[in-house]
């Protein structure tokens, strides 16, 4: 480690900021709507008659549930596929939140499908439900595989339930979650072979397979292809490791980054190819672009991965997935001033975002840290803020000493109600700021939050005590 001396100078953040493309998102939403309408209409035409009593109504409903389950599964996969248009416009955290919200509904529809179809056939064939279940599993084409698939999906789903997920190591959860892909794949053939909307309609079968191919293609291209291409093209390596504060280090990464689409405030998943670290990728924000196009990430030691970074040696190869995130300067409305509010190491994306603000932006920056030693980037923040005609307030102390309330915000930043607000810190902190902003009448769409967690069930590691104190309210 090179100590606290800082030979590195921030030169810029955004070299080629990724474009927000709301029209592209609209197009994808319309496409999703067309698919949904087409599926439901095709089901309506091919469903059994509803006049045949409760059993046939249940059968029709069960078929619809199966189709909707498959549709939702594809949607969920797309949300997690890092599709660039969606990612740069909505941000990975929002997409993953939606993905997580969709999950339980998807699984419920699939379970309802299995149950109602079994019970309906049992009633039609006048057999017991269990006997019917067995006969369906053993005689329908591909249904045994689908049953295995549904079980896999249920295991993965339960692992994502926050009560369970909280207790799992991130890596264990991740491994369990992977079985979702297998589960979905196993369930595909039985739809094509047996589904009333497909039998006898080769066109529909091909279109349906085409949709799956599209989703799979997006996953392969954007989750694997793009990161590999970027890693090969940029060849990132560790250049240096610098201590910023007790327990906080900056890792400086060099590479041919001049073509990297990057905006201040974005993060990437970093995988350092060193002993004991290569098998896990962690999200860290890019806290600045240094001269020579080097990237800096700044990390607080909270667990095994973040603690090990200070032992990285220069030259270590790095794989990066990203940059991701919509917590960038392009999220503000032109002409409207901004307030940037950070707690602890949450200053990292805000540090980089500042560089993207125009010289007359007059940003108001609030930065809370537990004590003076915890304040990082002090020598950089002052010039970056004052150079843009803004004000910097460093609030030193914990939640009790430095509470963030509506009146406190208003006294520090008198015109805050008219600003676009960016918040970065642990979820508890973000929740407190969101509450205060609501009291000030700031509409939600003008507040942008980076809470350092990608799954709602994750406890943010930034300041554990703050999170637990907030949860235990």
């Amino acid at each position: 480690m090179s100590g606290t001396a800082r030979p590195n100078r921030i030169v810029a953040a955004a070299r080629r900021p990724p474009r927000r493309r709301p029209r592209g998102v609209d197009g994808l939403v319309a496409l999703a709507g067309v698919c949904l309408g087409a599926v439901v209409a095709q089901w309506w035409v091919t469903k059994p008659s509803l006049g045949g009593g409760a059993a046939t109504v249940a059968l029709a409903a069960g078929q619809l549930a199966g189709l909707l389950g498959a549709y939702l599964a594809m949607l969920g996969l797309l949300l997690a596929a890092r599709v660039p248009v969606l990612e740069s416009t909505l941000g990975l955290d929002r997409l993953l939140r939606l993905h997580a919200k969709l999950g339980p509904w998807t699984l419920c529809t699939m379970v309802i499908h299995a149950l109602t179809v079994t019970l309906a056939y049992a009633a039609l064939a006048e057999t017991g439900a269990l006997a019917q279940f067995w006969s369906i599993v053993t005689t329908y084409e591909w249904v045994p595989l689908a049953a295995v698939g549904l079980s896999l999906m249920l295991v993965a789903g339960v692992a994502s339930w926050w009560r369970i997920r909280r207790r799992l190591r991130y890596e264990s959860w991740w491994a369990l979650h992977l079985s979702m892909y297998g589960g979905i794949a196993l369930a595909v053939p039985h739809q094509i072979a047996n589904g009333a909307i497909f039998v006898g309609y080769p066109v529909v079968q091909w279109l349906w397979l085409g949709l799956y191919a599209l989703v799979l293609g997006a996953l392969v291209a954007f989750r694997f292809g793009l990161p590999i291409v970027r890693t090969v093209r940029y060849r990132p390596r560790v250049a240096d490791v610098v201590t910023e504060a007790p327990g906080v280090v900056s890792v400086i990464i060099e590479g041919a980054f001049h073509r990297l689409p990057l905006a201040g405030g974005q993060f990437a998943h970093w995988r350092f190819l060193a002993r004991g670290l290569w098998w896990q990728a962690h999200p860290y924000s890019i806290s600045g672009v240094l001269d020579g196009g080097r990237l800096r990430v700044t990390v607080r030691a909270v667990g095994d991965h973040s603690r090990a970074l200070n032992r990285l040696r220069p030259g270590t190869r790095v794989l990066m997935e990203g940059p991701y995130g919509a917590f960038t300067a392009s999220a503000r409305q032109p002409g409207r001033p901004v307030a940037l509010i950070a707690a602890g190491v949450g200053i990292t994306p805000i540090r980089a975002l500042l560089e993207d603000l125009p010289p007359d932006a007059a940003p108001a920056v609030l930065y809370r840290a537990h004590d003076h030693d915890d304040l990082i980037f002090q020598d950089e923040l002052g010039p970056a803020v004052s150079g843009r005609g803004g004000t910097l307030h460093c609030l030193v102390g914990d939640r009790g000493e430095q509470p963030i309330t509506a009146s406190r915000l208003a006294s520090l930043v008198p015109d805050i109600a008219g600003r676009t607000v960016y918040v970065c810190g642990p979820p508890g902190f973000a929740a407190v700021v969101l509450g205060a902003a609501k009291d000030l009448g700031i509409p939600r769409h003008r507040i942008h939050v980076e809470a350092f967690r990608l799954h709602p069930a994750d406890a943010s590691p930034v300041r554990r005590e703050e999170v637990s104190a907030c949860d235990g309210r």
């Binding site: 999703a32 709507g33 059993a55």
Partner: protein, 148 residues
Amino acid sequence: MRRALIGAGGAVAGAVAVLAGHVLAGHVLAPGAGPNLPSAVGGAGPSSGPNETDRPLIDGTATGPRVETDYGPVQVRVTVSAGAIVEIEALILPTVHERSRWIDANLVPRLRQKVLTAQSADVDVMSGATFTSGGYLRSLQAALDQLA
């Protein structure tokens, strides 16, 4: 909110496109008038009563519409030669269910035999397989109507 409207608009467009496709292809849009209704309502040609089958048939092959039954779709193709029904092929049968498979394997050949003997689709539906045989006979009747 705006995106919800876009999605809803897309859904309507998708549904209309599919329904239009079915209409253009001449499919039956209201499935399952009930398996024991004798008359067939085919998209092809005007509907006709079963007694019209004693009119002489034109030689050729005709494919009946796909008929949805509670166990799945049924569709048959009929071949007429020298004014007589000489062959009936089941193009689609509900193979998705244990009982349906049994029906396909056992009852459909018997149904075919009955029709070939009676030279008409106006035969009794097979008890125990009312759905499948009802669909079979309705598809057949509509195919015969095309050759009437």
